[in-house]
């Protein structure tokens, strides 16, 4: 998060100031990468690059504060993702193996999860096992750090739907991680 300096940073970035644009990039690129890693792991870097191309092209016309800007960037990101899916004629995410990431997660290894905690990649791999909409809602709330209304606008859904998606997503994560018998259940 850039904070109170954001308007000045945006203005400078729109004028081509590289340091300012670098700050936008620093704040958003990791979020974008993680967003794409969950939905399209093999193409994450390319999709992030494509997103930045569009951001570079449009940054001088954007008007708004930091969170609207972030939401704008993720709207672009989502379009890139949808385009990628169409081009690649992908199967639904539920059917796709998340190659290369599943073995990093080892969520069924209670020792790893309990002692070492999660690496970011492992966490993303587990989120990637959710149904696509739930995963996306969780990522936009948690990693993009956007509120329900903005996430709803990005996903073109009602806020109530987004709430249900995230709620279900968390629940499913709990079930998945709690497959280990050592997790006590609330009675």
């Amino acid at each position: 998060m850039i904070g109170p300096e954001f308007p000045a940073v945006l203005e400078a970035a729109a004028r081509g100031d590289e340091e300012a644009f670098g700050r936008l990039w620093h704040d958003l690129q990791p979020r974008l990468l993680r967003y794409f890693m969950v939905a399209a792991p093999a193409a994450a870097e390319d999709l992030a690059s494509e997103t930045w191309l569009a951001v570079v092209r449009g940054v001088d016309r954007f008007r708004g504060g930091e969170l609207p800007f972030r939401a704008w960037v993720f709207t672009i990101a989502r379009h890139e993702l949808l385009d990628w899916r169409r081009r690649a004629a992908r199967r639904p995410i539920e059917d796709s193996p998340i190659a290369g990431l599943i073995d990093l997660a080892a969520p069924d290894d209670p020792a790893a999860a309990a002692v070492e905690g999660f690496s970011t990649r492992a966490a993303l791999a587990v989120v990637a096992t959710l149904p696509a909409d739930q995963a996306e809602a969780v990522m936009l709330r948690v990693v993009a750090g956007l509120g329900v209304d903005r996430v709803a606008a990005i996903m073109d859904k009602r806020p109530g739907t987004v709430r249900v998606l995230t709620h279900r997503g968390l629940r499913r994560l709990a079930e998945r991680l709690g497959a280990d018998a050592r997790i006590r259940r609330v009675v």
């Binding site: 081509g16 100031d17 569009a54 969170l67 704008w72």
Partner: protein, 289 residues
């Protein structure tokens, strides 16, 4: 699963601990999503989830920050376009306004395109820009030796007589240079005052390729750049509106391309203005990761 309906039964099942041991109330959901609950503070069934979410939202890693030079190069290329008074001046003190407005800018660009075409054909443009320029000129001019003759590619100001948005890269999609993601592989204007054969050249090539009689096929790399600049194949007629080949031979056929919208996935105009332009109420705390 019908994810689109937040039915009452769904919500009750999700929030009622009697009905479901994994139930969560809405406030706890929000706090989990916001990272306000540590694993020890979270409901026991969600301790691992809290840890997972914290990891998902953790600080950037060096790997994730690796591509910065490339994106700054993109920015440089996109902003270093010829403008009034010199190619390398930063716009730091200019008032914010539409960059390509004004006939003066249009005429300047027209002259630069002419000069650029000559420079390209004679090999004076550097590296990838020169290569791209030559490939486009080759498409529309029929070969390298065309700079000294009057060909459509080199026609001066009259071709730039379109709307004020005519320019190196202007248009409703934003006054940015087109180009693919591969660095240095497209006409980015990085060569400074030698204009890239972008909008005018591309549009002419496109129009020429649409001509049934002349029918010269447009180079795919050039076509891709045009699609990108126009924000999609279906946007090309609007984007090229006002560009005339300037030569009686290629007919000015502004046909609607078939299929449309199959561009390289740039998603056309970023939807910045519409929903996201206004500040929506922020319904959760801590969107400040």
């Amino acid at each position: 699963m019908g994810d689109d309906d937040a039915s009452f039964a769904d919500m009750r099942r999700l929030t009622d601990p009697d009905a479901d041991p994994l139930a969560l109330d809405e406030e706890t959901v929000e706090r989990l999503l916001a990272g306000d609950l540590s694993p020890s503070q979270a409901p026991p069934a969600y301790a691992q989830v809290a840890a997972l979410l914290a990891a998902a939202a953790a600080e950037p890693t060096p790997d994730e920050l690796a591509g910065r030079p490339e994106v700054l190069a993109e920015l440089r290329a996109a902003t270093r376009t010829p403008r009034r008074g010199g190619a390398h001046t930063r716009r730091a003190v200019r008032p914010r306004r539409r960059r390509w407005a004004g006939l003066a800018a249009v005429a300047l660009v027209g002259a630069l395109v002419t000069g650029g075409a000559a420079a390209a054909a004679s090999g004076n443009l550097p590296g990838p820009v020169g290569h791209a320029a030559r490939s486009i000129l080759g498409t529309i001019g029929g070969g390298l030796g065309t700079a000294t003759t009057t060909r459509p590619a080199s026609s001066p100001a009259p071709a730039a007589s379109g709307p004020a948005s005519t320019g190196v890269t202007a248009g409703p999609k934003g006054p940015r240079s087109t180009g693919s993601t591969a660095p240095g592989s497209g006409p980015r204007g990085a060569a400074g005052p030698t204009a890239v054969p972008s909008k005018e050249g591309l549009c002419k090539a496109y129009l020429a390729s649409r001509d049934k009689e002349q029918g010269k096929k447009m180079e795919s790399a050039a076509f891709e750049r045009l699609v990108e600049a126009a924000g999609g194949e279906s946007g090309i007629p609007a984007y090229c509106d006002g560009i005339h080949p300037g030569d009686p031979k290629p007919k000015d056929k502004k046909q609607q391309p078939p299929g449309g919208g199959q561009g390289p996935g740039q998603g056309g105009s970023p939807p910045g203005g519409d929903r996201q332009g206004q500040d929506q109420p922020q319904s959760t705390r801590a969107s400040n990761r």
